[in-house]
Structure formats: structure tokens, C-alpha cells
Symmetry: C2
Subunit: 432 residues, 2 copies
């Protein structure tokens, strides 16, 4: 853990070091991924079977790579009913928030008589990647599948590896809850390739979303352009802005809730109360003694954790904007006054009773958020990932007479004579 | 030019061939671009000077790489006033349409007492790449810079190469019209690297937009993640849906307005009237005889042009959705009835007096549109490229009591105990 103080002479350099791009730029898997994608594109299902045998130790005929409705039902029924109720609460709230997010179309006729519009339409088909093993989170299934459903996507296909053939009941229950019935036990770059290019078994999709390991991330990078992808997530991060009127233990646990994700995760406390900062730091050590994921959380806190002592909240806001954090907790009496000064953050959690974990599960907004300072230019997953815009222009004779001549002049200036002619011939017809 | 007929036995195969991905996947410039970016990142302005001397035959000290206000004014004043008026008409209409596009924030308290929100904020800084030489289009400057301005971006920096030191008056006039004053005479991968990573002369930006050659496109691919980028444009394309009640010459000129862009451009006519198709095909040949860019247009039409004869408009709409064209012209009496069936298109031009060239200059909607069938999942440039979303959640004790327990259950099921603890500790405090 690093301790920074804005009063220190080295503060700007310390902050710059903390800001230094933590996203790994290694491309060491680019070549194997390229080979796998080419193989899936060429050999289709046969390649899928081979890679599944090799990487997941699971040998099946191609048609059995799809998880049957009976298997899904059998697995989903294993989930205890109280957990099922919690999933349903989360799903209901996520669905409601994303429905509120849906934008409206535009359609108006302007002063020059030109009718202009913008229409939002859903993608036809989306592929959802879900990691297998320990990183398989049912909440991620909800967060990726429900916005697609709300957006009106007709087909959502899902790929989830099942190493040694072991299925994850919670993941399948979450998928069923979202109405996702087309599920394949395929993982890695081969799953991304199958969804991007299509095989006999799997029809191609238009966009691929969902988290994955380095192979999956690189495969998404490589198929980008042929299909759409979501952003490639880096390590997760939280900034907690707190005054001294907080229980240090709560702030400590909130920091550790980020740290427990991953050794690369980053948790940062910003406060103007140095004594409170000390208390939180001590509480972190106490909590680490009993936390089940203590090895991961301790390493994350040790390597990437930070406490920043500021003079006041204005300074805190300025630093938050430099950090552009994925998650921002505002543990203050007037969280809105502070939040109004924040320009760059993926999601903001306001008030002493709203830890970031609310947003991971049951808040409603999406928990897939921009990491590694990309909140400067990127946004969390939303219905906007599953819809696209078509603009429309309608002109009649009168409208073209008004705006056409300027178009002719510009087309000629750019040396695009057929462009100019397509306008001037019509303008000539109107005059005659 | 290929002629397809839905009545033909080979139609589906013919269409599949036409659909085959035309976007080049070659990455032959990846290595040189990687070297240039690394060099700019390491040597900064010195590298910019070296590459500008080498590629643009222009040797200048670093501080002169920025085009001075005087130079901009001198160049812009060279533009004739009627052309300046045309640029202003275009700018006014583009600005008005993009202003209408700006979305609203969300802020509401739901049934469980949780206050939820979604806030749009502008990016701080955007870099605009403008190609030099023959591909320098002032209309592109307007289409890229104005949405950023409307979105509220405070800093728009522009890079435009000036081979042999020659500046383009129209491009500088367009930039000045958009309020862009920070302009550098730098091009290629080095310009992209400078904007992405920053040098002494050029502060880094958050997102880079604008068209460019293969080096620029590859550089954008490589800096993606560190900064945002717009989509990498492929060759341009138009689909013209027309009945027999059109002047064949107009339809022919509209097809050629696409074909004249680039030898890789694609122009497709879809009609149910075979005699009209013949007349258009003949008119294309006639127009090619007098068109200044005939060599380019003839090659595009020869290699990529197509005429598709359909049974009816329903079949036409189905094929349009398969093609997902960048531009769609609907030369019909009731263009809206047809357009309502189109799910995938970048922009639609409706009516016999609205050729695609209207949209290139003075329509108002953006002319930067998704190419190569990516309208299936992508959209044209817009204010949405220059703003991002922050979601907000605010919960008090009563709200957390309602939704917190479901969060605890899910966090425990996912094995994230600090997440669960951050909720359960607060729930415990509320009860006591």
C-alpha cells in the first residue's frame, strides 16, 4: 500500500506513478489465438471438438457441444430457492434500470423542410462469453444478457467452458432466468471464433460480449471489425472518498471487496482526515486476518492499494477525475454535491449505506464498467451496446432547392463530380 | 458489374459471393507502425520532426509543427466567399442535427427507495485526424469536429499532414469554422501516436477520430484501449432501391457518385423492373464517358457494382438487411413504408429528390457511417462518440434493508466474502 499526501513535494510524481498505465500490453497469445481462429474458421465444428478435448478434457460429438434443455433444467433446479429468489431480485432490478435507459428515436422536419430522423434498432444476434471455473459469476450472466434482452435482441447465444464436463448450476440458472436457451459448452478463443464466423452447429452473431481470460480477450480483439465486441476489461478498481465520520471498518471492508477480486485489482482511499486514514489502514490488516480470500486481497492491497491524504474535497474531486475510476464510493453526508464535481467515473455509489457491492448485484445499473482510466472516454455496458442507429433524411423538391446548391458547391470543391451531378441534375429538373 | 436475379437458381450463392467480406484483413503495416509508435512514445517531438522530414519532405523545428493562427487565417481567407457560404450552410445544419441527438440524463427513485441515475459527460480532449493531399475533404472536418463541439468537448486538436509544406485552405477554413485552433502539420502513425501518448508539443487526447490511410488505421488499432478510437472505415458503399418510375440517368449518377470515391467502393441497384435495370446499366456507361473520375468509377463499377432483380419490395428489403449497407437510397413514391422494413443500414435517403450526396454535405446527419456490413452492429459518428455515461446509485438505510439481503446471498454464492461483508455489516448496524 502506498500513502500519498497532496502536501508532499513529490505528490504529483507519486500520483503519476499510481496513474501509470496498469493495463498489460503483452500480446504473447496473439499467435496461438490467430491459429485457433483460422482453424475454427476452416474446420468448424471439428476444430471445436478438438480444442474442447484438448483444453477442457472433454470429448463429445459436435451436436452434444450444445447443452440440452434437459441438462439446463436439471442443473438450474439444483440451485436453492433462496438463492434463486436473490437472482430474481437482481434480474428484476437490472431489467428495470436498463429499460429506463432505452433511448427515443428522432423524427422532425426542420425549417428548410427537410425531414430528419434517427432510428434505434436492435442487433439481430449477440454472443455471450461466460468464463468457466472459479471466474464463473452468475451476476455477470445477468449483467450481459439482460441488457441485450431489454434492447430487443432476438437471439442470444452463450458459450461457457465446462472443464472436465462439470457444469455450473448457478450460471445455467441465471441464463435460464434471462431466457437464454442456446448454450454451448465451449470456451477460449475457439468459442469466440465460432460465434464470430459461425460453424455448422453455431450460427454467427453480430456482437460478442462478456469477460474472459487472455485468450478470450485476444480473440475478441482479432475478430473485432468482423463482429462488434465490448471493451476488453483490465483489472478492477475502486476509489473510496470518505470523511472521518465513517466506521473505519466499513471503509476497510469496501476497499477489500475490490482487492479480493484479483491480485491486480486496485483499491484507493481518499480522505482529508489523516487519523481516519490510519484507522482504515489498521482495519484493513485486521480484516485480512479473517477474510477467506486473504491471499489475493493482501497482495492486491500491498501492490496496488493506496491512501491519498487531501486538503479538501475539491482536491479530492480533482484527483478522482485524474484517476477516472471504474467504481467511486462517496461516503459523505452530501454525496451529490461531491459527485457533481466528478466528470470521469464508470459508476458512483453515493452515501454511507451504498457500498459498491450493491452495484455488483442488485442496484440495477450494469456492473461491467470501464477499467484502467478508460472512464475518460468509455462507458459501462448498457442497452446502447445492443442497439445501433440509422439516420434518415427525406427531401422533396422544395427542400432540395434550398439546401442542394450548397451541396453542389462543396462536391465540386472536393472534386467529386458525380456527387455534384446527382444534385444538380435534380435541381435542373425542378427548375424546368 | 454483376447481375443477380432472385429467380435464378444460383441466387443465394451469387448473393453470398457479393456479401463476402470485402474488408482487407492484411496487417502488413503492423510492424512499421509499432516501431513508429514506440519511437514517438520514447523520443516525442524529436521523432515527430524526423518522420515529418522523411514522409512529408518537410524539415521544421518542433514548435513550428503547430500551424500558427496567422497561417490558418491566411489560408482560410483564400477560400472564395460562395464556397465559404456553402461550408457555413453545411456546418449550421450538421450542428443543428447533432444538437437534437444529445441524450438526456436519468435520475429517478424506484419503488424500493433506491435513487438511480445515468449522467452523460463530455470527453475532455479529442484528436481529429485529417488526411492530406487528395483525400483531404473539408466536409469530413465538419462531420468529425462539430459533433465533438456539440457534445461539449473542451479541447479538439487536429493533425493534418502537409506534404512538401503545402497547406489546404478549405480544410483550414473548415477547422476554423468549427472553432478548432490547435492544428499540427503532422500525419501518419506518428500523428496518431503523438495524440495518444502526448509529446512535449502535443498534450495527449482521450479519443482519436477521423479517416486515414492504412498506417493511420493500423496506428488507431494499436493505440485503442489507451485512448478511444472511432471505427476503422472500409470501402464506401451504396444500395439504391428504385422502381421503374425513375429517370435511369439519375439512378446511374447516384450509383457512380459512390463508385467515384474509390476503386474498392461498391454501388448496388435493387429493382423489380428488369427493363429499368437495363436502362440504368446503359446510362452508367454513357455517364462514364464524361465523368472526370471515370477511371476510378469504371473500375469500382466493373469489379464491385451489382444489379439485383427482385420479385417485389419485400424481397428487396430482405436483401437490404443482408447487405446492411452504409448508404441506402429509396427512390420510391412511399419511401417510409419501405424503410420501415429495413433493420440494418447506416443512413437512409428517402425520396426521388434526396440523393446520397445530400447526406455527404448538407443534410445534417453524419456522413461517417459503418461500412462493410458493420451496420449490423455499428452506427455512424455522432455526439455519442464524444460523451460517456456514469451511472449512479444512492441508497439509504431503508433502501439497503430492502435490496441488501439479496446482494449478500449472491456475493456469498460467488465466494466474494468481503463483498458480502460490506453489505451485511451495514445491514447489522441498521438493525441495531
Amino acid at each position: 500500500m502506498k500513502r500519498l499526501d497532496t502536501l508532499s513535494a513529490s505528490f504529483e510524481q507519486d500520483l503519476a506513478n499510481l496513474l501509470a498505465d496498469r493495463s498489460s500490453e503483452e500480446r504473447s497469445v496473439a499467435e496461438p489465438v490467430r491459429a485457433i481462429l483460422a482453424d475454427v474458421r476452416q474446420r468448424g465444428d471439428e476444430a471445436l471438438c478438438d480444442y474442447t478435448a484438448r483444453f477442457d478434457r472433454l470429448t463429445l460429438p459436435a451436436e452434444n457441444l450444445r447443452i440440452s434443455a434437459e441438462e439446463i433444467a436439471t442443473q438450474a433446479d439444483l440451485v436453492p430457492s433462496d438463492l434463486m429468489d436473490a437472482l430474481k431480485t437482481a434480474a428484476r432490478r437490472i431489467e428495470a434500470f436498463h429499460a429506463a435507459q432505452m433511448p427515443k428515436d428522432l423524427d422532425f422536419t426542420d425549417n428548410e423542410g427537410i425531414r430528419l430522423g434517427m432510428r434505434w434498432t436492435a442487433l439481430d444476434a449477440v454472443g455471450l462469453y461466460v468464463p468457466g471455473g472459479k471466474a464463473a459469476y452468475p451476476s455477470s450472466v445477468l449483467m450481459n444478457a439482460l441488457p441485450a434482452r431489454v434492447a430487443g435482441v432476438q437471439r442470444v447465444a452463450m458459450c461457457v467452458p465446462s472443464p472436465d464436463g462439470v457444469l455450473n448450476p448457478l450460471v445455467l440458472a441465471a441464463a435460464r432466468l434471462c431466457g437464454v436457451e442456446e448454450i454451448y459448452r465451449i470456451g477460449g478463443a475457439q468459442a469466440v471464433g465460432a460465434m464470430a464466423y459461425g460453424t455448422e452447429l453455431i450460427a454467427p452473431v453480430d456482437r460478442i460480449v462478456g469477460p474472459g481470460n487472455a485468450f478470450v480477450a485476444e480473440a475478441k480483439r482479432q475478430v473485432f471489425g468482423h463482429v462488434g465486441i465490448d471493451s476488453i476489461a483490465g483489472p478492477s478498481e475502486v476509489v473510496v472518498v470518505a470523511d472521518g465520520n465513517n466506521d473505519p471498518r466499513l471503509a476497510a471492508v469496501d476497499l477489500l471487496a475490490q482487492a479480493e477480486h484479483d491480485e491486480q485489482a486496485q483499491a484507493i482511499l481518499i480522505t482529508s482526515d489523516a487519523a481516519f486514514a490510519d484507522a482504515v489502514t489498521a482495519a484493513v490488516q485486521t480484516e485480512l486476518e479473517t477474510l477467506p480470500r486473504t491471499a489475493i486481497a493482501a497482495k492486491s492491497w500491498e501492490d496496488h492499494g493506496a491512501v491519498i491524504i487531501v486538503r479538501d474535497l475539491d482536491e479530492a474531486a480533482r484527483i478522482v477525475n485524474q484517476l477516472a475510476p471504474e467504481h467511486l464510493e462517496v461516503l459523505l453526508d452530501e454525496p451529490r454535491a461531491f459527485s457533481a464535481k466528478v466528470r470521469h467515473a464508470g459508476a458512483i455509489f453515493m452515501g454511507r449505506y451504498c457500498p459498491e457491492a450493491v452495484g455488483d448485484y442488485v442496484g440495477g445499473p450494469n456492473h461491467v464498467l470501464p477499467t484502467s482510466r478508460t472512464a475518460r472516454f468509455a462507458s459501462g455496458l448498457s442497452v446502447f451496446d445492443f442497439i445501433k442507429r440509422t439516420t434518415t433524411i427525406e427531401a422533396d423538391e422544395a427542400g432540395l432547392e434550398k439546401i442542394g446548391p450548397a451541396g453542389v458547391a462543396l462536391a465540386q470543391a472536393e472534386g467529386l463530380d458525380a456527387h455534384a451531378l446527382s444534385l444538380s441534375l435534380r435541381l435542373g429538373q425542378i427548375k424546368n
